[in-house]
Symmetry: D2
Subunit: 430 residues, 4 copies
């Protein structure tokens, strides 16, 4: 029996207060959609079956190189983190899995598995970390990891990734996500070609250790922490990696890792077409890798990404099953609230994409009717599908209004009393 962190009656009470309004809104939306030939029940069902993984590190308060301002009741370790993650899933019924980060979440795998089981949580992709040094580590990653000039450092980084696979196997995970910070801060510091050769060789070693039913995701990023060049700087390089490694290697797209003005949905389409889209790290951004809440800044962009995903489903693309994960930094909000909200925004974009009239769209595309093609997307995007999302949550046992219900539950206050405050941080940098 699942260990529920929010009392069921709190959820029930909060839902009761909103049930009538939801019913009315859901019916009105159903009528409107029916007039467009869309069956609201079919959409609600698909939305109910759409899930996104939560990152274990996302339930702690994030920070910048200038400072970290801790929140109250921050998780002290992976068990607290899993408790927090379970709250998100209990209320949204959209996040049944957690993505771990090694070594931050390292502990006995059986205990982890048991804890996850007790909370009704499974484990998504494993994340390795060779962008910071762990205490006692033999070789520093200051000048790189998988692409380091020194063979021993590369071997250590390879070993760490293999260890992540081992832990993941015990937990039921089926994928390894590799994001590294390797790069350079000065022209000349690194030889682009030799460094990439070393990277590919290291990744090939990791790939060899990958079980047959696993996938390995490489993640591109334009810059940061390296500020002149980054070894996996864009999807072009990322594609070369996946292609070089083999059929279990795929590209991961983090929405905040691109150059200004980049058309990200087009990259998604290309990777689908060439069978190398592994999945997503969802978040939103205005300037760089801002790691803001999904849909907070440019919600239409998130919709356009989902438009590609639903289009691929519609075209029955073979072997298409991208992984969905949130990757955000919650600096000024309660992380649980941000993750609840973000899971909803991601489902919202999916729901909107589901109600696009694809047959009409295709017709407009074939006749170069740019205006009506655009309008067809925007009509779907304009629909306020919140009643669908709320109804999907309600039916699955979640909350009609999950943030309000979370606040009503007093969960944060309770854990704040149990968990001592963590220290504020200061980067010592201007």
């Amino acid at each position: 029996m699942t260990d529920l962190k929010i009392a069921s009656d709190v959820v029930a009470q909060e839902n009761d207060r909103r049930a009538t309004a939801l019913k009315s809104d859901y019916e009105a939306l159903g009528s409107t959609l029916a007039r467009r030939g869309v069956d609201i029940e079919a959409v609600t069902k698909k939305v109910s079956e759409f899930f996104v993984a939560v990152p274990s590190w996302g339930v702690g308060t994030g920070g910048t190189r200038f400072a970290r301002f801790p929140g109250s009741g921050e998780p002290r370790g992976i068990f607290d983190k899993l408790d927090d993650c379970s709250v998100i899933n209990q209320l949204t019924q959209a996040t049944p899995t957690v993505s771990l980060h090694i070594p931050w979440d390292k502990m006995d795998a059986r205990e982890l598995k048991a804890k996850g089981d007790s909370l009704g949580l499974g484990f998504d992709a494993m994340n390795s970390n060779t962008f910071s040094d762990a205490p006692g580590q033999a070789h520093s990653y200051k000048y790189g990891s998988l692409s380091h000039v020194d063979a021993a450092t590369r071997a250590q980084a390879v070993e760490h990734n293999i260890e992540c696979i081992e832990i993941g196997k015990a937990l039921g995970s089926k994928a390894l996500t590799v994001w590294i910070g390797d790069g350079s801060n000065f022209p000349g510091q690194s030889n682009f070609t030799k460094a990439f050769e070393r990277y590919l060789a290291s990744m090939a070693d990791v790939y060899k250790a990958l079980p047959d039913d696993w996938r390995i995701f490489s993640e591109h990023k334009m810059y940061e922490p390296a500020f002149y060049s980054t070894i996996v700087q864009d999807w072009g390089t990322n594609y070369l990696i996946a292609q070089t490694l083999g059929p279990k290697a795929f590209c991961l797209v983090d929405l905040g890792h691109h150059a200004p003005n980049t058309n990200i949905e087009m990259i998604v389409a290309r990777l689908i077409q060439f069978e190398k889209l592994g999945g997503f790290h969802f978040n939103d951004s205005k300037y760089g890798d801002d790691d803001l809440d999904a849909g907070a800044i440019e919600p239409y962009r998130l919709f356009l990404v989902f438009n590609e995903l639903v289009d691929a489903e519609y075209r029955s693309v073979k072997g298409f099953h991208p992984a969905h994960m949130i990757d955000q930094s919650h600096n000024v909000t309660d992380p649980i609230e941000s993750l609840i909200s973000s899971a909803n925004e991601i489902r919202r974009a999916y729901a909107q994409a589901l109600i696009v009239d694809r047959k009409a769209l295709s017709g407009y595309q074939d006749t170069n009717d740019a205006l009506m093609a655009s309008e067809t997307l925007k009509r779907a995007y304009r629909a306020d599908v919140e009643p669908i999302l709320a109804e999907a949550r309600r039916r699955a046992g979640g909350a009609i209004d999950p943030v309000a219900t979370y606040r009503a539950s007093g969960y944060r206050k309770k854990v704040s009393a149990e968990r001592p405050a963590s220290a504020a941080g200061s980067g010592g940098i201007i």
Copy 2:
């Protein structure tokens, strides 16, 4: 009596087909909004009173430096343009004024006025042109106009602006918009300081000729047609101009004229606070001054701009009456359709901003509740206010679905038969 270019019965027929659905949607939305404490009728009324000017040049097909691909039935001159503009206004009831461009639209002012009157159209801000050479012009603007090193060229540019004021006076216009392309393509080509001194002196001469009840708008732009420096490159310089010239001088914000990633709504807020916001050139963009249809690329950004405008109304900012104008280039659509659609999108953003719960928002801001503050804006933005827009049009005699009605009317086909095709263009540039 107004000369209607679309037969009234076409509009009536098309509206009849959609009246029942609209009634149903409008009522459902009314109920939902009422639950949030928003009176739909008050919103519909405000939307009905919101207008945006159409640019005379916008009804022709645009192009790029690489090519222009003409549409059919393109206007042959300002009278055709006004006919086209009247169609937009007839169907949307949102665009009762036209913004002229001199010398492109130059002709006898009384005839112009009479033509406008016959179509029920007034005249918005006048636009001068010193970014291209008119046939027979004494001095070329190749190396600048109001900031040119040569006094005679500057004087010619000043004279042209004064002429625009004179024409505008006869037409009932109350504002002059000055956008120039002056700048440089090479470091060193222009002395930034001396050029700006010359610019300010020229503008002071234009300002002297401005009637007391007029406003002069200067427009900033990051780049293009100059590709290294532009004399009014951003709102900082634009503000300095308005401040230097005097109380009738204001800054015009074109949404596509900023650096990548710029927070435009914040610029709008600053200009309002310092009493120098003159108005807008609405459009949308992904890369630069793309001049795409308003709301086509990043609709949330458009909403956030209107959020500032409605907030200023809410705070009863003194003397606040920004001018609204569309400025787009329609390269692949029927320009009339794009302008209809854009006028709707602009009203949509306004309507969404009107239903923001400003009291709640203010409360969240005062308690640093970032998540709920964001959610408050997004809740308003998520509302599908199309029924409000449609009802506002219907009540004013416009079309419930103006694009569909326009297509049903056969207007484009009719004018295509009357107006000979114009030539395709090729820039001869790669």
Copy 3:
């Protein structure tokens, strides 16, 4: 015997005035370089053997969508253009080939060849044009060319490319450059996947017609003339094209066609590593595809690109022979002067890259000595290699100071008298 457009004695006279100073500077530089272990004669020899093609369209004055301000003495056709190109080559001895653009330069191939021969000019890559409509063309490219939804339009575009190959064969060209403007201005207007499938099929048809000793270059560009999506939007897509087409297909890099902040030299390195770098369109830019003179805005970036090219030579990369071509728009300068200057800047970057101490650099890279690695590049970049460039020109019969010599020759005045003025253009767009 070559038909020289600048009298030899003008060149001789101008060189005489500068010979002593050059000798002194060359010797001083030689001493400095010798102290670093660099043989100036070896560098001068390599520079003398480095050539870059001039684009036929580059000798006309360019413009923007807002206006084109013609220069005096603009070429009336391809023969005038070749005359102008020959002046550039005569003075710089760096540009012995011209890159043609069809249909702009279309005429009898034998006559073209004879004219080139008389001027001592050869023909570089052929450029097709399906981004604008030629008079009398059956199908418009308004909505695309090689990726158009309509098969007949695609076939026409394929045919045009094959025609370019045919002309090129007669002229001695060995490459076809394909740059297209296909894309979309609205989300939804185009289905990314289907459009790219059509593009690849069309290109495969062109590829079939390619002689065995030819190469085909596809060129990526982020945006413009399409402003939401572009079919070959970046090097990732470009690589997929070259890989899909086959061993004669390569990627062309135009320095101005990337997203803001992109590390272009890294893209160059990746394409070299994966054996798909076809060559370059050289120019400089600050904002977008500004097509400014090479080295005018960010000369260090140009150097860093050449650093990759020289590094590849140094590593003896197999089959490495990128094509070099200038592609600029000269809006405010005499195009001949800009092309002279740009050819020099390109050679300058090459010369600076040649004097990088690659052994020391490699050592610093292997020891993570970022500061000295950077300093090693900058020390080479800081060297004022103008004496090497001037000496290379002088020895080959060119001008020590080619712009001054050009001005002294009175060439522009002479052709201005012969060639009637072309019209100013105005885009009719704001």
Copy 4:
């Protein structure tokens, strides 16, 4: 007598090895410049009198939000920092002052002053810190400081700034630099107008405490640590601040704090023209506030900034005396080496700007000779002025090759033995 951290004989020995080559290079450069009408001695003198302040925090190893990889021998406190700063000044003779950061460098002012005196170091602008929380602080800056919604938090931030002034008075400083991170991560989180009103009121309180012979510098930044809006987001807002506060308030320009593609030198020119340029934080950047070493990425941009400064001197702008300070984060180099190198790069840009032929430039500008105007700047920029910089150092008692001399001195090894290693950091954020 100054406490020299590098033994004089080490400097002398190292200089001796390079004296002959320097003499030769200096004379050759002198001849070349003389031919252009430039007196090398005059330039060397001006360069000798140009100084730039070093930031106390710059001598520690920087980091990112992902990790900090410490160097060896990192300073344990302000005394160690001052020792390190003195090494930079000893070898470059270009950095006689240090800019302190409170509270990081807080200690008894008399002791600080005495320590500085012993090392021959003075104190430049004071830097306050309200972007991170100090231990024991009553009110957190998590949601802002000078613009916080809470009056007590604002008062605390004002008090802290006044304290910085007090400390600075005791140290002989004459300026306060205020950079804050206030802003928001979500649309709606902050009311732009009210927040800026609060900021201006707080700054007015700080301004009141400013001695008559002091200046206050406000610093703009596009983003980070706030990722949606930043209160002093650009120079436009920065200008409004300086203007609102009064004649002792000026704008500080950090070269890395602008939107992509921004023409920074133009902003510098505008601020000079409107008498509000306070000074600089020098560094270089490719993507954002990368805080890389000055001149490492785009050296021509640094030159163009200095071109404006020298132009202002040339035009004898009244009251023109900008403050020069380095602000960098040294993540992968020995910070002392990076600061030595950066001080040289800044002087290099100044020297190059000094040898611009301003009379010729002005003439080209007045005749719209864009090509020769550009060439005039580039000719000066191309000059390898390293012999001037080296000679200026040598004559003042510094090192001809300061990095090599520093390495030869064994300083880092010595302090590494004395100073225990500091901990690596990990942000716990992806």
